[in-house]
């Protein structure tokens, strides 16, 4: 599979034809997600057009938008064939706020974000209890500095396909906060279209109660001297909470000097909750700076709890402090400040604090 510029070539099926993917139950990319949810999205459908898009508070114009990469799973292909409306959006320097709210039925829409030169900082919200397949196609031009933070809130069932093309010398920060309470399967890809570019991908996700959250992060190095850092942390609350994280890091033949690292840590707060973490490294070039990964699923450390409790802090509060501490470093790496407020509000709702408001 290739883009127009022939850059991105991970292995595996890629097609705009939803029938090209074979039996879903046997597919690697569907081994974690509950397939009954995917069932409704397996074939093209008539979009409800319920989702509303706001760009800095007002509706942007519809238009033709270009998808740079072919779909890589069946829901993506079927969803793309169902896109009702497309919004080509030019993102200028400075701050931009985009909201996608769906309170209605199953929808499919496409946003293409073309960032300008210079420094831009955009935040995009997915909100509402409506279901949908959403496409986000971002491109950062040469030498630009782009921060794009996506925040998922609300209880909808969402399949999100998000990719970022990073031109030479550009520095891109992709932050993701998955704070939904329904079903979220978020596929996020970044690929380098020119040398000396950097991608920093930070993510925080919660799976609470009955909810399911899956984050699939793919970084493709196919040109020389690029650097990628993937850092995701997740917490699970409630005995039937489920999460999955799949981190793919691909270093192609044409990518000497690549430097990549991916990290995923999960914190299981309730016995019974299940968290899957799967880093995948595919290295086809021996001449690289570094390529590493680390992944873990952990539980409360009784000694840490004991320490806090020995200072008079009750068990519940001690747990809350430990969880919040677990996310704190990542949150400060996100820098842009976007999402911090939502994260804190979510934490308050879930009863999580690091003592700052004590």
């Amino acid at each position: 599979m290739k883009t127009d510029d022939g850059l991105f070539e991970p292995e595996g099926t890629a097609s705009f034809d939803f029938g090209a993917f074979g039996n879903m139950e046997k597919r690697e990319e569907w081994k974690y997600a509950p397939l009954d949810v995917a069932e409704e999205f397996k074939e093209p459908f008539k979009p409800s057009l319920c989702a509303r898009v706001l760009l800095n508070g007002s509706e942007p114009g519809e238009g033709k938008a270009e998808k740079l990469l072919s779909p890589r799973d069946q829901v993506e292909a079927a969803g793309f064939a169902s896109v009702g409306r497309s919004f080509p959006i030019r993102v200028p320097e400075g701050k931009t706020r985009i909201e996608v709210k769906n309170k209605g039925k199953r929808d499919s829409l496409f946003l293409s974000l073309r960032f300008g030169k210079g420094k831009s900082d955009a935040v995009l919200f997915f909100e509402g209890e409506g279901d949908g397949v959403y496409f986000l196609d971002a491109a950062a031009p040469e030498e630009s500095q782009v921060t794009l933070t996506v925040i998922c809130l609300g209880n909808g069932k969402r399949f999100i396909y998000d990719s970022t093309r990073i031109a030479s010398g550009a520095k891109v920060k992709r932050n993701l906060l998955c704070l939904g309470g329904g079903f979220d399967r978020y596929s996020l890809g970044a690929y380098f279209a020119g040398p000396r570019a950097e991608a920093e991908m930070n993510g925080i996700y919660f799976a609470c109660g009955e909810c399911y959250t899956e984050c699939r992060v793919r970084v493709a190095h196919s040109v020389p001297d690029c650097k990628s850092r993937v850092s995701y942390r997740g917490a699970l609350i409630g005995s039937s909470a489920r999460s999955a994280w799949v981190g793919e890091s691909i270093i192609g033949k044409g990518a000497p000097g690549s430097d990549s690292y991916e990290l995923n840590k999960n914190f299981v707060l309730t016995p019974g909750a299940k968290s899957f973490s799967e880093p995948q490294l595919e290295i086809k070039n021996g001449d690289i700076v570094a390529a590493g990964h680390s992944s873990s699923v952990g539980y409360f450390d009784p000694i840490q709890l004991f320490y806090l409790r020995s200072r008079g802090i009750g068990e519940e509060e001690a747990k809350r402090m430990i969880i919040s501490g677990f996310f704190e470093e990542l949150l400060s790496n996100m820098e842009s400040g976007e999402g911090e407020e939502e994260f804190r509000a979510f934490c308050r709702k879930m009863g999580v604090s690091n003592g700052a408001q004590a």
Binding site: I303, F306, G312, G355
Partner: protein, 251 residues
């Protein structure tokens, strides 16, 4: 008024693969908060086990009686014991990622006393405490014990002692790993707390800290019990003769 800590026939065991293993075999100790008690004993004799067990560490199953000012602590959780006024300075203080020391201590104060200084006044209050311990004020913003050196961790334990003002503090090897200046600074902190009414039980291997912290009683801990008690002179004898010889005189 002085506080009283009474430990009677205190036993503690850990779960091992071969079943429970008794480590403390009936400890008896009575202390008043206007006294300083020092506990010395060979490695593995059970000193840290005593310290942890008194604070209800989850690894240990205990029996016997521990009373603080007449209140039985035996069935209380660690946080309840802290609220009763017990404090444990740990041999190996624990790192808490993502939780700044200042937040931690304020949360702790609030939990213990029911109220904490206002967010606005807290930094300067804490800074005052830190200055006395010659701690860089930046430590307030660092995560609890994360990346602290051995000596810095011990200093942070004493900071907590001074801020939280317990009735009784058990300090487990608070002097290990301290350079000469740090030893003096930490000792001064202990003495200040003591002067403010906190009872001290100091676990140590070295008589050098006793130059600054003057004990009223020295106890020799051996095989899970207090085998011998005396004054400062017992520490000197331990230093000179070593445990083997001293224990030999007992049997």
């Amino acid at each position: 008024m002085a506080h009283r800590l009474e430990i009677k026939d205190f036993r503690s065991s850990v779960a091992t693969k071969e079943g429970p293993k008794e480590i403390l075999k009936g400890v008896n100790l009575e202390a008043s908060s206007d006294e300083i008690h020092v506990l010395m004993g060979p490695n593995g004799s059970g000193k840290s086990t005593l310290a942890y067990s008194l604070m209800a560490h989850p690894d240990y199953a205990t029996s016997g009686s521990v009373r603080l000012d007449g209140t039985e602590l035996e069935l209380l959780t660690p946080d309840e014991r802290a609220k009763e006024g017990l404090f444990l300075g740990m041999q190996y203080p624990v790192e808490v990622p993502g939780v700044p020391l200042a937040n931690f201590l304020r949360t702790s104060l609030k939990a213990l006393k029911g109220e904490a200084p206002s967010i606005r006044s807290w930094p300067s209050i804490l800074k005052g405490y830190m200055e006395r311990l010659k701690m860089d004020p930046q430590f307030a913003f660092r995560n609890v014990n994360e990346g602290f050196s051995g000596g810095e961790k011990k200093r942070a334990e004493i900071l907590q002692l001074e801020v939280l003002k317990p009735k009784f503090a058990i300090l487990d090897e608070i002097d290990s790993g301290l350079d000469v200046d740090a030893l003096r600074i930490v000792s001064e902190g202990i003495c200040r707390s003591h002067e403010e009414g906190c009872g001290i039980i100091l676990i140590t291997h070295y008589a050098r800290i006793l130059k600054y912290v003057h004990p009223d009683f020295v106890h020799l801990f051996y095989k899970g019990k207090i085998a011998m008690s005396g004054g400062k002179d017992l520490a000197d004898r331990i230093e000179e003769e070593g445990y083997d010889e001293l224990i030999g005189t007992l049997s």
